[in-house]
Subunit: 260 residues, 2 copies
């Protein structure tokens, strides 16, 4: 029996290999899925290959290129990393690391110190995008931005936020104490009672251990997100993406109030 | 060859069956894992059975009971729902639905209109706990609280927050318009410029579709979480747990300011 596969075994193997960082680096590619995420990326990058339903191709302003693949929903299901595959899977070239890192003397940056969970990293990229933070500086042990789970959780914000990896203590030690370096701690000062600047770096830590000792020493503004009512028995901590959101929202509320 | 399994096949099968709502309802049990979550639940419920390492049992003030099981880490790995199993897995009796629903005339409640993702629901329960919100009223199509993924994402807050399921439109229609019913919308009024009450209900919607039309009609205070800078091209939306956190944080900031 002859079976005409639209998605070749080799292509299937290539896509699978991009689940791992090693595979992504070897091939220089990453995977994005669904009309929203792929659509946002198409605004910025030329895809290496698109695998999509006929209907999805029809809805685009551009046509299917030679190497693009029309697939049925069943075929997409086989190749997808998602539980519910959505019309299109794109392979994009890994962007070369952007050296145009934001300037914390003039704007607000986020730094991540060992955030491990891909869903958290993706959600934090989406939060940064919402709050107009253009650069996230990650410690080298932070999850990889181009992990398919991260890309998906950004809901397309990955196309607008610049994520760079570096030795975080070295990076911060060149800035602190001249630049405000903020971090949230359970024994910090109430976020709502502190002066918050329009520039500097907000550091968020690892899911289990928080901010590492080495990085903690370089933080010059220790903040606390107060629980309610204060000093009562509640949850002991917040998820790192949640803490990022509350902190960024307050910085931006401050800036909006001050600029009025 | 005789293999002395510490965890019997039947117990293994029982635990697996608790991944599904049907199984949980049939057995009247749910699963919690790890010292933090199990520890918090032990403060409130008597477990049906604990499966844990010898070391974990040794660290407790109580002893291993007749039906509890000592397991090696390898055995725990086989039975666990987690990627990285943690010392203890507990089976707890499903609490009977608590009829002591909070009173929105006097306090702040959360309502969820079709939140689907277990991780989001668990994170929202953790947020409610942090911000001293004791009751979450869920529409019947919201994810089940006792799904192992939800329990895990609450990080123990499930022991302190009362989650009830009901026909949400009916519930709200009995309260609105007398009680403030808040919801966040992309065309709502800036959260930071609105009067926020110390009582009422904050409604959060489904991941993809937001608040349903039927529930939307019962919302009498439409809020917007402003992005920054406003009206610029940023992420189109925030994850529902993130939006919940930012909204609750602002209500609580308000209350703290007003009570000083």
């Amino acid at each position: 029996m002859y079976f005409c596969a639209m998605i070749s075994k080799n292509l299937m193997k290539l896509v699978r290999s991009l689940d791992q960082k090693k595979g992504r680096q070897k091939e220089g590619l990453f995977v994005a899925e669904g009309p929203k995420v792929v659509g946002d990326l198409l605004g910025k990058y030329t895809p290496y290959r698109l695998i999509a339903t006929e209907e999805w191709f029809r809805q685009q302003t551009f046509g299917k290129r030679f190497d693009d693949v029309i697939a049925t929903e069943d075929e997409l299901r086989k190749i997808s990393f998602l539980q519910h595959p959505q019309q299109v899977l794109g392979l994009f070239p890994l962007p070369s690391e952007n050296l145009n890192v934001g300037n914390p003397e003039e704007e607000l940056l986020l730094a991540l110190d060992g955030v491990q969970d891909p869903g958290n990293l993706g959600t934090i990229i989406r939060i940064a995008d919402w709050f107009g933070i253009h650069t996230i500086v990650c410690s080298n042990n932070t999850a990889d931005t181009y992990n398919p789970k991260v890309v998906q959780a950004t809901m397309g914000s990955i196309a607008r936020v610049n994520v760079v990896y570096t030795d975080l203590p070295t990076y911060l030690s060149e800035l602190s104490p001249m630049i405000p370096v903020y971090g949230t701690f359970l024994d910090g000062d109430n976020l709502y009672e502190q002066p918050l600047s329009n520039n500097g770096i907000i550091v968020m830590g690892n899911e289990g251990n928080g901010i590492s000792e080495e990085v903690g020493r370089l933080i010059n503004r220790r903040l606390l997100i107060p629980s309610y009512p204060e000093h009562q028995e509640t949850a002991e901590s917040l998820n790192v993406a949640i803490a990022t959101a509350i902190t960024c929202a307050e910085f931006r509320r401050h800036m909006s109030c001050n600029s009025v």
